[in-house]
């Protein structure tokens, strides 16, 4: 296995591998800096979140390494089961005793003896993989495939809406549109699906007054500075204060409880504050490299499943990363999404690294074949 791993390294896309390693490393450093105050405030230890994150990173790298050398073809059989399992995770948080409420929403699953996890992270990955699997079936008529994909998307979104997770729903639907497009769907379908998605999102926003507030406030966060505009305003202040070169690593001020979640959803703001435009652009660039290499892998893939699988994990990371950075910079309204590889949180890092492992595995396969 170890030998096979070294051999595998020969054939994986080196740019992608280095990019993933850099993302993971940069993420760990930023978690240490961004979480120190919150860690201390909650646990009396500045490095509390960092230590946890380090543990998850270790686990994630092992998982990624395993997935890197694992035969993707063998995954096909497991994907439906994994998807169903993760879907169950999404729903059982509502059963008393399983869920954990954080900030008014039940988005955590706590099983006895296991660390708390975010079902969304798991369902996101297995949903993407499942979509790749469904769309890869060339023998089935497109209509049947599309309807099936529509169904599972609907169920996943329903589950996420029950968790009041608009950010997650948005990512799933964006992923669905991208995957539908890449699968070769007739373009006229989008004349229906895009307005439908917009309608669903609009509907969800109108239903919940707090979401409505967020929408208006993000356009001018200073208007309700101490209220709904607070987190957007603090995020913009953090990024703006950083300037071109930043205040210096760990020198940021906004993590002193000004930013509500400096180590998770708004870690990109700390990136902007502490390492400036240079750092923020570099991080965005690293995500783009991930997308670029992911697309390269997908384009070069001859096997339809591998092509779609590469697309699924690539865009899963891409959509989420750019959504998160869009929220931090105030381009998008606030929604609770994590920044892959960066945000503190085991589920997010583990899933991100697993996705990267899968993509690297596909790259090994694709570029190995082409050699």
């Amino acid at each position: 296995m170890a030998k096979a791993g070294v051999k595998a390294l020969d054939r994986v896309d080196p740019v992608l591998l280095i990019d993933v390693l850099l993302l993971t490393l940069a993420g760990l450093i930023m978690v240490y800096s961004a979480s120190s105050v919150v860690s201390y405030e909650s646990y009396g230890d500045s490095a509390y979140y960092f230590k946890k994150q380090l543990g998850w990173a270790f686990l994630g790298v092992i998982a990624a390494g395993f997935l890197m050398v694992y035969e993707p073809e063998k995954m096909k059989k497991m994907i439906p089961a994994l998807f169903v399992a993760s879907l169950i995770m999404v729903f059982i948080v509502h059963i008393p005793g399983f869920g954990r409420k954080v900030g008014g929403a039940v988005r955590w699953l706590k099983l006895p003896g296991l660390p708390a996890v975010q079902p969304f992270e798991f369902v996101k990955l297995f949903y993407a993989m499942y979509l790749a699997l469904i769309f890869s079936d060339e023998r089935a008529p497109f209509k049947k495939v599309f309807v099936k994909s529509l169904w599972i998307t609907g169920i996943v979104c329903f589950g996420l809406i029950l968790q009041r997770d608009l950010g997650g729903t948005f990512i799933i639907m964006a992923l669905f549109l991208i995957m539908t497009l890449i699968s070769g769907a007739p373009l006229k379908i989008f004349a229906i699906t895009i307005p439908a998605v917009i309608a669903v999102v609009a509907g969800l926003i109108i239903v919940e007054p707090y979401r409505m507030k967020r929408i208006f406030v993000y356009l001018d966060p200073w208007k309700d500075y101490f209220g709904a505009g607070w987190q957007t305003a603090q995020s913009l202040i953090a990024i703006g204060t950083g300037g071109v070169f930043g205040m210096g690593l760990s020198q940021g001020q906004q993590k002193f409880l000004y930013l509500p979640t400096p180590h998770t959803d708004y870690i990109y703001s700390i990136v902007g504050e502490e390492i400036g435009f240079i750092g923020a652009a570099l991080v965005a660039g690293m995500f783009f490299v991930f997308l670029w290499r992911g697309c390269a892998v997908a384009i070069n893939a001859r096997d339809r499943f591998l092509k779609l699988l590469a697309c699924a994990v690539t865009f899963m990371i891409g959509v989420q990363a750019f959504t998160n950075m869009g929220v931090a910079t105030g381009i998008l309204p606030p929604k609770g999404t994590t920044l892959p590889f960066f945000s503190a949180g085991g589920s997010s890092l583990l899933i991100s690294l697993m996705a990267a492992g899968i993509l690297l595995g596909v790259s090994r396969k694709v570029f190995g074949e082409n050699k």
């Binding site: 204060t241 002193f256 400036g276 965005a284 660039g285 910079t329």
Partner: protein, 708 residues
């Protein structure tokens, strides 16, 4: 899949292109925020993250006339930590707990706290705080604050007033001179977290404060202290409602002491009622009663300068005055018969005063009262003064002429009365009383009091006559005999004014203001002292009896304090003098029985004090044949018949004696003594009368006592 013309590869490229576009938007947005908006957002950050701590440092102090601090600001340090910055918590806990005298466990719990900010100890002396800060432990710092402290507490409460928690003056000098005394606000900007707790990075000072001005008052801490203690004892003893004492320099108007009782502790002002916070000396007015008579006399002497030989018949203690249809009865306490002017004042005859006043026109009286400053504010440099009240002439009714001359129907403040007597004392100048000698800011005197005097009151011969009358008051048959100061010429006047009933007209039966006002020495006065006791309860309510002793004790003390030489030509005799006694020669009484000794002594009219127990006189003082000093008591020591050769002796009573005296007495009884303390004997062991063997050791404790 038929869409070969738009292949999956092309579609992937399309999506990637969309992401290129998104990346572009993100870059533009980042550039906008971090380059274009950089400074404005940075300003916003500073505004949010910096907290301005206003530092009201350096409030000026209040001094008494010899530089004792009456109010001062004590800088205290509060040691704080930001636990996350403390690296070596155990070592820091060791150091801090030792320096601050706290338990190590407590300090460690603070250092390990999850909170971003913790107070370790408040009110740490600056010296210790400096030692801690010198160690430069990361995360340990101090915040300094000022606390106002009044060393004299309740004794000077009405002078200093107090400053509130924000160091703003709320009463007294603290309030009246706020604009001088308050320091200029210092401002310090410190970084804080979102919960407004300080964080260590980038604390900086913006503006240094400026120390406020120091106020030097005319108050003399020692006199103020003595006056307060005397007053406190008398008010408590007589269960009076309140009392006040004012001591003033009659030449300049400088107020040496101004005390009120009950008072409050300005160090904890919130617990005191508004009633206690009032400076009664200037805010309260009352009917002066007999102390007012001297001004009627002044008016009379103005109109009739050569009336020294006049005799006024003051009847049998009760006189009915017929004013038109009205009949008005005026009482005296005793049947006085014929009185000279001096005697009218000396015995304080209401009838005599009214009879003299009746010879005057109301305007003669009215103008004279105004000349002494009544009915107008004294102009003291403190707020809240009342002008007193003398009704306008047009409003005097028929009986006013039988009331006003002896101090009824008029209201004065203590300060006014003191100023009016000061005018008699200083040769006829109405002086403006003042409390603030100077105000010094940064070593520069920004204000210095100028003595203000005006003419009006009696001068020359007329004034001398008034002084003589007031001196007569102090004689043994005068109303102020209890205020007499041994060895000094004192001029003064008692007052026992009935208080108006609270329900309306008429006087309350048992409510009095007992007062005594006087100056000393009468020929060249150093001080004017006014003592008022409001509503004393019980049998003793006369001004002379209640206020007189306070006056006497205070002036006895001040005489030595101001180094006033005793008057050689004048000796006050508080106990009833006897010319024969001054030349009395001490008889020999040793080895006589006590009864025999008593007879011998009374034959010579010598008073004595006896010590010890037994029937025989074993020792005497002074020695036989010596002349006894004036006012001195002979000392008679008693013992058993055969005491000289016996081993048996008794413990004498040495309480109240000085150390030397007690040792002498004990030696006489063959006892040895172990002494502790200094001053006067307050306790002894064994008790007086206990039988002892000669050479036994007894213990005596000595203490300095107030007012002795």
């Amino acid at each position: 899949m038929k869409q070969e013309s738009f292949s999956a590869e092309k579609r992937i490229e399309l999506v990637l292109t969309v992401f290129v576009f998104i990346l572009g938007v993100l870059f533009i947005r980042l550039l906008f925020l971090q380059v274009v908006m950089h400074s404005s957002l940075k300003n916003r950050a500073e505004k949010g993250q910096m907290s301005t701590v206003k530092k009201q440092i350096g409030r000026g102090a209040i001094y008494d006339r010899s530089g004792r601090q009456l109010a001062m600001s004590i800088k205290t340090e509060t040691i704080c930590v930001t636990p996350r910055n403390v690296k070596n918590k155990d070592q820091a806990a060791d150091f801090l707990s030792k320096k601050l005298g706290l338990s190590r466990q407590y300090v460690l719990s603070k250092l390990k706290s999850r909170s971003g900010f913790e107070y370790i100890k408040r009110k740490v002396p600056a010296v210790i705080a400096d030692e801690i800060l010198d160690k430069k432990i990361p995360g340990v710092f101090s915040q300094s604050e000022e606390k106002r402290y009044y060393p004299y507490g309740e004794i000077t409460a009405h002078i200093t007033g107090f400053a509130g928690t924000d160091n703003k003056g709320l009463e007294g000098i603290e309030m009246a001179y706020e604009k001088y005394m308050r320091g200029k606000l210092g401002r310090e900007e410190i970084r804080v977290d979102a919960k407004r707790r300080p964080i260590l990075i980038g604390s900086r000072k913006i503006k240094k404060g400026e120390r406020g001005a120091d106020v030097t008052t005319t108050i003399d801490g020692n006199i103020q202290y003595a006056a307060y203690r005397e007053l406190e004892a008398t008010v408590k003893k007589s269960r009076a409602k309140s009392g006040s004492v004012i001591v003033m320099n009659p030449e300049t108007g400088a107020i040496y002491a101004a005390v009120n009782y009950p008072s409050y502790d300005p160090n904890t002002p919130s617990t005191a009622s508004a009633d206690k916070k009032r400076n009664r000396i200037i805010t309260d007015m009352y009917e002066p009663g007999s102390t007012f008579k001297i001004f009627t006399m002044s008016a009379y002497l103005k109109k009739f300068p050569n009336s020294d030989d006049e005799i006024t018949y003051c009847g049998m203690g009760k006189e009915v005055f017929q004013i038109g249809k009205y009949q008005r009865t005026v009482h005296d306490h005793e049947k006085h018969g014929n009185l000279t002017h001096n005697e009218i004042i000396k015995v304080s005859s209401n009838i005599g005063t009214v009879k003299l006043a009746m010879k005057l026109k109301p305007e003669d009286l009215y103008k004279e009262y105004l000349a002494y400053g009544f009915n107008s504010k004294t102009g003291i440099d403190m707020p809240g003064e009342v002008p007193g009240l003398i009704r306008d002439l047009s409003k005097w009714d028929k009986v006013s002429m039988t009331s006003v001359p002896y101090g009824q129907e008029v209201a004065v403040s203590s300060l006014q009365l003191a100023r009016a007597y000061a005018a008699i004392a200083n040769g006829g100048k109405l002086v403006t009383p003042y409390l603030i000698e100077k105000i010094v800011k940064n070593g520069r005197t920004v204000y210095r009091h100028k003595v203000k005097k005006q003419d009006g009151p009696a001068t020359g011969k007329r004034r001398e006559k008034l002084v003589a009358m007031l001196e007569a008051v102090m004689e043994k048959d005068g109303s102020g005999k209890k205020a007499a100061v041994a060895g000094y010429r004192v001029a003064g006047k008692t007052g026992t004014a009935q208080k108006h009933r609270t329900d309306g007209k008429g006087y309350a039966a048992n409510k009095y203001v007992a007062s005594f006002i006087g100056f000393m020495p009468a020929d060249k006065p150093e001080t004017v002292t006014l003592v008022t006791i409001d509503e004393p309860e019980g049998y003793v309510y006369f001004g002379g009896d209640l206020a007189g002793p306070i006056f006497r004790n205070l002036n006895t003390m001040m005489a030595s304090y101001f180094k006033v030489l005793p008057s050689e030509t004048f000796t006050a005799d508080a106990e009833g003098g006897d010319a024969a006694r001054e030349t009395a020669k001490m008889p020999s009484i040793k080895k006589k029985t006590f009864a025999e000794a008593k007879n011998l002594l009374s034959a010579e009219k010598i008073k004595y004090q006896s010590h010890g127990f037994g029937k025989m006189v074993i020792a005497q003082e002074p020695a036989p044949g010596e002349t006894l000093g004036f006012g001195k008591y002979a000392q008679v020591f008693l013992g058993d018949e055969a005491q000289a050769d016996n081993e048996k002796t008794y413990m004498p009573n040495v309480k109240g004696m000085t150390v030397r005296r007690a040792m002498e007495v004990l030696r006489l009884y063959g006892l040895k003594a172990k002494c502790t303390g200094s001053g006067f004997a307050v306790s002894q062991e064994p008790r007086p009368g206990v039988a002892l063997k000669k050479g036994a050791i007894c213990t005596v404790n000595f203490m300095m006592k107030d007012g002795v």
